[in-house]
Symmetry: C2
Subunit: 467 residues, 2 copies
């Protein structure tokens, strides 16, 4: 596949690189190792290195760089921590990658307003470290210690979304360098507004194809007075999913409800030396609230789970026990890899209406059995979102072919259930083949928006929509 066929010509490329070198000085590089690192994310997708990498320190530099690149038609790819999963940062047509990791300042913490203003290179762990003494926290947790800029650009989500929402609900405002090099602010810091089109949401999830995010205003929350975690094991997957549906109906504001199927739970028991658990469908719960509120939530959920064949709760109220538990959940990927030394992981996700979740998961697992592949499953059940990680030999075409065919069937199954080809990983170039099927004529409208905002198609070209 000659994806680089329509790169710019050598002369233009030279002019762009010269101009970029002028702007960034010794923060401009064409070193191969740096370029390769920046064309690669954490996925199995083929990496594609850019022609150069620059490390931006200011919004103004970014605006200058984008202005030059727009004039020359030279591609620009924004880069946070490179932890995306669908080839988002691959330089499909060469160009320059703008690394924002040096823009890592927390610009203000507005405690009374429960918001913070940060630069795009701030990571979520860094933000929470910074916030700790204020009694506030930022809940979105996609697993990786991703940058806030990247999380915004990919509409990240994760384990807390059922209670706190995704980046869609938690970004209040953005500063963005648009593809023509203009700097805009998408909205004021007020919590709500009906003053015009929702540009904030247009940029959240646009994966660097509409501009570069240079500042993010985020909602934050008071650290709950009480937090407790519990684990509940089920005889079958339907029982686990039905417990979650019933819990949400009852209006119990559970912070996290994470499903691990029996395969993933088996791997976690081995890897994280979890004692007293069996390789069964399992839900990890976390409750946030007042002391009494957390107790009441947990009692309600335990009673609901019991109705659907759930075990008694195994509790973790002490911080250290809770950390062991959630560390095990976070290490699920490594636990799965450890089951097959030498193999690699290929994670993918879909999301369906929660009423179809059990059915979708069961059909997917049955299909998986027929392929003979090993692929543990974890799910953000409250959202109807689940992940499969194929643990696979990437150099084995037969295995790869079976995984590809299986993942395609999984996407089509989700779409047939009125679901989406990706609940939180994003499109990158990995999920592009499904967007036509998912969106139909709406994809043309997305294309019109892209063309209007990025007329020269310089921003992360070859991602989300083809123009």
């Amino acid at each position: 596949m000659d994806v680089k066929a329509d790169r710019v010509d050598e002369k233009t490329r030279g002019a762009a690189l010269d101009a970029l070198k002028q702007i960034f000085g010794d923060r401009f590089t064409t070193a191969e190792a740096v370029r390769e690192q920046h064309g690669k994310d954490e996925s199995y997708h083929t990496p594609m290195a850019p022609d150069a990498v620059v490390f931006a320190e200011t919004e103004d530099e970014i605006a200058q760089a984008v202005t030059v690149c727009n004039r020359l038609g030279f591609p620009v790819i924004p880069f946070g921590t490179g932890t995306s999963l669908e080839g988002h940062v691959a330089a499909m047509k060469g160009g320059v990658t703008i690394d924002t990791s040096l823009m890592d300042r927390i610009l203000s913490v507005n405690a009374e307003d429960l918001d913070v203003v940060v630069q795009p290179g701030v990571t979520r762990k860094q933000l929470n470290e910074h916030l700790r003494d204020t009694g506030l926290f930022f809940p979105i947790d996609p697993g990786a210690d991703a940058s806030i800029g990247g999380m915004t650009a990919t509409r990240a989500s994760g384990t807390n979304a059922v209670r706190y929402g995704t980046m869609r609900e938690n970004v209040l405002s953005l500063r963005v360098v648009t593809p023509t090099g203009e700097v805009i602010r998408t909205s004021r810091r007020a919590r709500k507004s009906s003053a015009g089109y929702d540009l904030t949401r247009l940029f959240v999830g646009s994966e660097g194809t509409l501009g570069i995010i240079t500042e993010i205003t985020l909602k934050v929350y008071g650290i709950p007075e009480a937090i407790s975690s519990a684990v509940c094991q089920f005889e079958d997957l339907e029982g686990a999913v039905d417990s979650v549906i019933t819990t949400i109906h009852a209006g119990v504001p559970v912070a996290r409800m994470e499903l691990l199927d029996e395969v993933q739970m088996g791997a976690c028991i081995d890897y994280s030396k979890l004692e007293g658990y069996e390789a069964k469908p399992t839900i990890f719960f976390e409750f946030h609230g007042s002391e009494a509120g957390v107790k009441e939530q947990a009692e309600t959920v335990e009673a609901i789970a019991a109705e659907f064949g759930g075990s008694s709760f195994q509790w973790a109220t002490r911080t250290e026990d809770r950390n062991v538990l959630w560390q095990a959940r976070h290490d699920a990927y490594y636990a799965a890899l450890a089951q097959r030394p030498g193999a690699q992981g290929w994670p993918t996700d879909v999301c369906v209406p929660v009423s179809r979740l059990a059915e979708c998961i069961l059909e997917t697992k049955k299909d998986l059995e027929e392929t003979g592949l090993y692929a543990p499953l974890v799910g953000h059940v409250g959202d109807g979102n689940f992940h499969l990680v194929y643990i696979i030999d990437l150099d084995n075409p037969d295995e790869m072919g079976r995984a590809k065919a299986h993942s395609e069937r999984m996407v089509r199954r989700a779409l047939a259930m009125d679901g989406t080809c990706t609940g939180e990983h994003g499109v990158g170039y990995g999920k592009m083949p499904y967007l036509e099927e998912e969106h139909g004529a709406a994809l043309n409208l997305m294309r019109s928006v892209k063309q209007a905002i990025d007329p020269n198609n310089i921003m992360n070209p070859g991602k989300i929509v083809r123009v």
Copy 2:
């Protein structure tokens, strides 16, 4: 002001009306009374009647009508219940108003998924009536019994937004007839997705300028096990606002926190014969949750309010008492009008970061005192959003001039505090003069989006952005 200067020529107008008559038969009308009613909302803004009104029954009819109008460059204005407040439905350049009130079917209630699919003409009260037996409810309450289509198009919000969010957070997916007459669906019914640009949010709040909404999938919620209401009166406004800020910080999930200033409270006491209250800054609270949860929330909030000079809570736990109280809140507008028989109301709203709310309100009230106008104030304090209703003689140019100047200063004050010119009423044509100041270069980007989606500027022209 000759706003109709660039109406289409007579021949085009004739062709458009003929074609529309063909499509809609006896649901097409040019009767003056109907046209006038459809060019007018509930605001003081000058109404402007369209050339014709059609009453649509199907999405297909709408698509046909828009296709014809797009070919001829004939304006199309969508109409729900006409309860908007900034001249949203005025036919600035003539054209046809498409009334969607006959499209009032609730298409599905997906209880397990906590969502419903409705046609645009369904009103919020109709929806809640329909849902009652299912144990579900739709929380967004802008006051008027508006249509869901209109509420979506204006990004409506209201008293429950502090807990349940606005239409931005509660619309899952839309079907839309685009300005070229194509039918699109903005997303699947899954709760979350990262599969491309957030078209749903682009249409929410677009006020009919990007297309006509023909179907809405909404989040709904389980009716809480327990609901209780309480009223707390404060010596001063800062005390009231600080109580709310502290309550939110403490993570208490209060469903409603409605501020009435001493002027509005005085009017409500008179109008709704409220006993045992004084004309002081007052907050109406509503708590949703389990029996124990509601009790705990209320105790926490009462203790917080006491710290800031709040009175003891006056309780309304019985449904009838609660209804009296909230009816009084809903009747605030009529209560204010009753203070000055013969006068009319001119409602306006702004929204600021909540840390600036007390300051913004106090300065606005001081300024008001100097104008000599009578204008009660209500606020959705948790969001930083407040409303002023000038009770005014619309035929008195002096009064109108003072109100206009005062409202302009209020908007500028909100903008200076990093707020927005409208928190929930929308832009229509009334707030258009402030968008340049609020959005700067971002307004150009909104204009590009509008031009890309509606190249012939047929959809509700003259609203939000000038093209």
